[in-house]
Amino acid sequence: MFHFIIRRIIFAIPALIGVSIVVFLMLHATPGDPAQVVAGPEATAADIENVRKSLGLDRPIVEQYLHFVGRAVTGDFGVSFKTGRTVVEEIGHRYLNTLQLAGAAMLFAVVVGIVSGVLCAAFKYRALDNIILVLSLIGISAPAFFVGLVLMIVFSVQLGWLPLTGNDSWLHLILPCVTLGLANAAIIARVMRARLIETLDSDYVRTAYAKGLSGFRVITRHGLRNALMPVITVVGLQMGYLLGGAVITETVFSWPGLGRLIIQSISSRDLPLVQASVLLIAVTFVIINLLTDLLYGLVDPRVEVA
């Protein structure tokens, strides 16, 4: 087990290096002079030269990259162009808000997805199965911002049950969390259904039925346990989409998270904030994938051998 953990951690390092290269290049791939971009449109030649010096843009590119990584590792992302506060100060609580939203959405997706997937498998090829399948297809195909806006109209504007925007109480979390988690719930439901149908077809399940267990018991004790493995993988993979989808959901509901910060920082050309936020989300994603792998190893004893 120990070797397995160490190996997975080592495997995550190249991904992190890749992410750091991509984020680093964000500044340099911008057409024109990055110093000019950073200094802003009204900067004088002297200003631009100063920026170039202070950002180290006059150094060889490899040296610049190593410098960037060195600072990033110690949590130094520079200062926001707009507010003058350090980037870490700016994004800290925003990050927590995004994690809260993504976590809640994942929880919603897992619970709803597994329950509806099990219902589908238990009633396969019957009305309930078909209804859930059609709903899940719509859940995958409907754009999140549309779902969010419809939920807003129904539950906030028309019924007045839930608050419209912001994040002052747990009630504020409900609509964004459903919006963000819906597509994932649909995907989990489909994977769960397919695997459970497959599992329920196997010999040991027939044996369980033969020894007189009830349908409910067979599904929960024998089927579900074995069908859960691929669901864990999907949950891990979907976390990345969730973090990306958070950008849209946060914009719809004015949720003060990293995603909304990125959109705001882009319109104000605040590149350090964009870089740091993208890097933070990517690192979070890599860590989640790592945890998924480790969880996989813990749940399925066969993985250790591989």
Binding site: G18, S141, F145, F146, G240, G244, F285
Partner: protein
Amino acid sequence: MTSFAPALLGAARSLAATIRRHPSSAIAAAIVVVLILAALLADYIAPHDPMAISGRQRLRPPSEANPMGTDNLGRDVLSRVIHGAQISLLVGISVAAVSTVVGSAIGVLAGYSRYVDLVVMRIMDGLMAIPGILLAIAFLAMFGSSVTSVIIAISVPDIPRVVRLVRSVVLSLRELLYVESARSMGAGPIRIILRHILPNAAAPILVQASFLCASAILAEASLGFLGLGTPSEIPSWGNIIAEGRSFIGSAPWLLFFPALALTVTVLAVNVLGDGLRDALDPRFRRRI
């Protein structure tokens, strides 16, 4: 004439049989065909000029003259939605084509050369570690919004997915006996890739491309919603929805119809992809 008739009849019969056996795929295919026709013939079938502003016609609910109502500038929503189909389909198809071609080329190289594999797959891991929409947003923030940059911005995050798929297919195929025998007969790597490996990898690549097309259409609309999509002079479903957002309480049709068009399109392309997978991959037949 007479010699064509039986062949035509046969084709019609097998088409009817296919529709009977896969009704959902047939409906999806019909929707996609209608959409493509609508996009191609937008100038002829749209009842009004999508850009014609009319101060007197502002925010009219759906009526006979404007089946989907009018927007805040008095433009006909139906005409805008029909013209918007052009951008959505253009982006969807282009992204699927670009990411599939580029991804397949890189995937084949990675599957064939260990050195390329080592370097390329690390970069792909890095790209995969950034959520696609975020990468697209970052890209558009750097290069500004045009139809071309939107296509590139959505394609880049998709490339690693194609690379992974193609690479894994190449890795498994290149050890097979028929490739071995081609090699022993003196076929060079390019010939082996083009003649023996790619044709056998075509099915999963095609299926993947159809799903990429669906997600690209969705991504274009999402970027439009965030204000980063195609420029507002060109109507696209994304920016029609983005513009309609402020009128959600007073004129919901502004948002509802383009969003409906978008959802139905994505749904149809997804279902078509499912059908394609079922038809091409015997493992999935009659299972899911």
